[in-house]
Symmetry: C2
Subunit: 125 residues, 2 copies
């Protein structure tokens, strides 16, 4: 129906920064985390992460819920809408990547695949 159209339009409106998308995708992938955990994961300071969370929350893509067992803590989770944004963005990225990769020979693709393994070793040995 026109719900999917609405979704598209809404997403077109929303422009996420790299760090915002990164946090959102991380939440979708790994579930709820506290702001502190997120700041460590993203290598930014807690206030910076707080700002990122605020933006995502204002856009309705994540929600804060208090931790029942520790009043200081807060859990941040991706909303249904947030999951949808990640899924759709990934779909578009994959489409782009696929169109570029299809211009390569199978041999070239294999070389790239091996390279990613080596690069991973290089950066985090």
């Amino acid at each position: 129906m026109h719900l999917s159209r609405r979704l598209r339009n809404e997403r077109a409106d929303i422009e996420l920064s790299d760090s915002q998308f990164s946090v959102l995708a991380y939440l979708v992938r790994t579930g709820a985390h506290t702001p502190n955990e997120l700041s460590v994961w993203e290598h930014v300071t807690p206030p910076s992460m707080n700002r990122t969370i605020n933006a995502l929350e204002a856009a309705g893509l994540v929600a804060r819920t208090p931790d029942a067992s520790d009043g200081r803590k807060v859990f941040v989770t991706a909303t249904e809408n947030g999951c949808a944004v990640v899924k759709e963005t990934r779909r578009r990225r994959d489409a782009w990547l696929h169109s570029r990769l299809s211009a390569l020979t199978p041999d070239e693709r294999r070389t790239l695949e091996e390279a990613t393994v080596i690069l991973r070793k290089l950066v985090a040995p």
Copy 2:
């Protein structure tokens, strides 16, 4: 003498942003350019490039010289000091990279080399 020590200290003081270093290195590599040319090369707007040039000029790493044949234009060139900064930074980067690359097998290094060629094709076909 202690001139080299002073150089090091001065360089330690100076913290160049990525875009500043990129412009400086480009000038060292390719000689004088106008601000406009630099902004096109770096994919930023002329005012942004102007700000970058100002910072480099204030640090004594580049100099502006008017174009004799066209009063609107200005040439930006790396100073001797700017060349030294680029050379030293490259030296340190190369040292780091070399230490990481030497942990790889020759086969792995060859794979990486081939991958860079393919990636270049992929990004700018």
